[in-house]
């Protein structure tokens, strides 16, 4: 137990410099941005041309004349207090806006993750259980094909089929649960196929190990052996992949959100880009970066729970 706590503590400590590094990176991205934030903000109203003095005043207000390091320090201080700055366009706090839009993105990503996990487990176990049968061979051909269809192409096929031809699901919006069925499936199918293939091959790899022989000699049946003995050891690569896919869903949601017109953090980032709202872009990068690092941390902890050797440092 002690060693387990120590492992978790070590992992938590390690994420701190990474999170700090991400703030540095996000800040640097803002710095190298083309254009002058002060000019951009002052000219938010297209009908009004700001004077040189007005821009200079804004410049001072935003602290753009200070040395870079001080600007970073001030910005980081804000970040630590939960202040990602205010939008250069509408002056709303970036974090509030992100948190307001997060539920839609999060719901979409969590649903998709659930589909990936469920399909991955079920498919991976079934295919390895019926190895080399017709199901396995045919299934693998379908998987390789499905995982090659890009998510947004899949999305349009689904809209065409379910919304236009069969008329069973709505095309866009985020009003009810039925709005999330297609987006979630469209992004989940590809990753689910990858997980199924990954799990199948790692289960079959584990099946060749010596401890399986011991389990067989106990009188356990194939299914029992896979569920009770092999699965736990075979899950690690799939968990890591699924965590990456989840992070990808959180940080890549703008494509799905734009196809299905769902208001989420991805569409917020797209709007920010179209309006050159650098503070918002910076905040978005920071936000998804933090979320991704935490998801990966969680995946690491799950892997450590599955593999005592990692957590006990054997």
């Amino acid at each position: 137990m002690n060693q387990t706590l120590r492992y978790i503590g070590k992992k938590l400590l390690w994420t701190i410099p990474i999170l700090l590094g991400i703030t540095l990176l996000a800040f640097a991205l803002g710095l190298i941005a083309r254009g002058d934030p002060a000019v951009n903000r002052a000219s938010a109203d297209p009908d009004y041309i700001p004077t040189e003095e007005e821009i200079q005043a804004l410049r001072e207000e935003l602290g753009l004349d200070d040395p870079v390091l001080i600007q970073y320090g001030r910005w980081l201080g804000g970040v630590l207090r939960g202040d990602l700055g205010r939008s250069l366009i509408d002056d709303k706090p970036v974090l509030d806006e992100l948190l307001r839009l997060l539920p839609n993105t999060l719901l979409l990503s969590v649903l998709a993750l659930a589909v990936i996990a469920a399909a991955g487990l079920l498919g991976g176990i079934c295919l390895s259980l019926f190895r080399d049968s017709f199901l396995d061979v045919a299934g693998r051909v379908v998987l390789v094909f499905l995982m090659s269809v890009p998510g947004f192409c899949m999305a349009y096929f689904m809209i065409w089929l379910f919304a236009q031809k069969l008329r069973v699901l709505p095309t866009s919006g985020a009003d009810g649960p039925e709005n999330f069925i297609m987006p979630c499936l469209a992004v989940a199918i590809g990753s689910a196929c990858v997980v199924i293939r990954l799990l199948r091959s790692s289960i079959l790899g584990e099946m060749g190990k010596n401890y399986v022989l011991t389990a067989q000699a106990k009188g356990l049946r194939r299914g029992q052996i896979i569920l009770r003995h092999v699965l736990r050891n075979a899950l690690t690569p799939s968990v890591t992949y699924a965590a990456n896919a989840f992070g990808g869903l959180l940080g890549g949601s703008m494509i799905t959100e734009s196809v299905f017109s769902i208001p989420g953090i991805g569409s917020y980032a797209l709007t920010a880009i179209s309006k050159r709202d650098y503070t918002a872009i910076q905040g978005y990068v920071l936000f998804t970066g933090f979320a991704f690092v935490l998801v990966c941390l969680l995946a690491d902890l799950i892997c450590a729970w599955l593999n005592p050797k990692i957590r006990l440092g054997g």
């Binding site: 090659s148 349009y156 060749g208 022989l213 990808g248 196809v259 970066g289």
Partner: protein, 274 residues
């Protein structure tokens, strides 16, 4: 295994075909991809337009052909640049070891801490759309993963006894890297390059679709899908054609990567026997 080999050769042929079509687009394409013909918009297949036309009456087939030029070429070029940056850093990091390795790996960790799509979008948003920005965005967001894998491979190979042997015989660092380490990480590297080309094509298409990558009137699969989203209900091939090209390209990449991966670990699925 034999079946896999056939699939591999087929996939390679498809990939080369895309490359060839891209190179020879000027010679092959029956129409100018930007020749507007409003009288003939969204027309079905005919002798003049084999796949029909889009909403501006432009020839679909010609746009696809020019699209494979931009999509495939940016993908190959961007992957090449990523490879160069990532591999150099990975080799240096793995070969030096010690604190330089630790330092480089911390930087790698930070770059990997941001989801790649978010990263690409942000860089594109900050630099503005266009071919050059797209290249920079892809390299900046994906060199880290590349270098990490190369570095791990180098570390693995470095521990092998034959490296020690070569050292004992007085071989210098660069010599060992060139003669022993590079050849041994070549196959895993090929798998990595293949999958990376696939994901880069997807990124390019997705960014062009969002209007952040290439811009109209350039002919690109992502732009074609973006153009099609208002018109595919009237004429489905405007959407299907670029989507099918993307899928076919990714499929062949996946098959190639699968085959190389099988070659990599012969014992995949082969269990205990005696």
């Amino acid at each position: 295994m034999k079946k896999k080999r056939v699939m591999f050769i087929l996939a390679l042929a498809v990939l080369l075909a895309f490359l060839f079509v891209g190179v020879a687009a000027d010679l092959i394409a029956p129409w100018d991809p930007n020749a507007v013909d409003m009288a003939n918009s969204l027309a079905g297949p005919s002798r003049a337009h084999w796949l029909g036309t889009d909403h501006l009456g432009r020839d679909l087939l010609s746009r696809l052909i020019y699209g494979s030029r931009s999509s495939v070429f940016i993908a190959f070029f961007a992957t090449g640049c990523t490879l160069l940056v990532g591999m150099t850093i990975g080799l240096v990091s793995g070969w030096l070891g010690g604190w330089p390795d630790q330092l480089i790996q911390s930087v790698v960790n930070i770059f990997q801490g941001i989801p790649s799509t978010a990263f690409v979008v942000a860089v594109l948003g900050l630099l503005g759309p266009g071919m050059r920005s797209l290249l920079i965005a892809i390299v900046v967001s994906s060199w880290a993963g590349f270098s990490r894998i190369v570095r791990n491979q180098v570390l693995e190979v470095r521990e092998q006894h034959y490296i020690e042997g070569a050292r004992a015989m007085g071989a210098g660092g660069l010599y060992i890297v060139r003669r022993h380490i590079l050849p041994n990480i070549l196959l895993p590297l090929l798998v990595l390059i293949a999958t990376r080309i696939g994901s880069t094509v997807l990124t390019v298409a997705a960014m062009s679709y969002l209007g952040l990558g290439l811009r109209a009137p350039a002919s690109d699969w992502g732009i074609m899908i973006n153009d099609a989203k208002l018109y595919y209900i009237r004429y489905f091939p405007v959407l299907l054609a670029p989507a099918a090209c993307l899928t076919l390209f990714c499929l062949s990449i996946n098959l190639i990567a699968d085959y190389l991966r099988d070659r990599l670990d012969h014992d995949d699925g082969a269990a205990r026997m005696l």
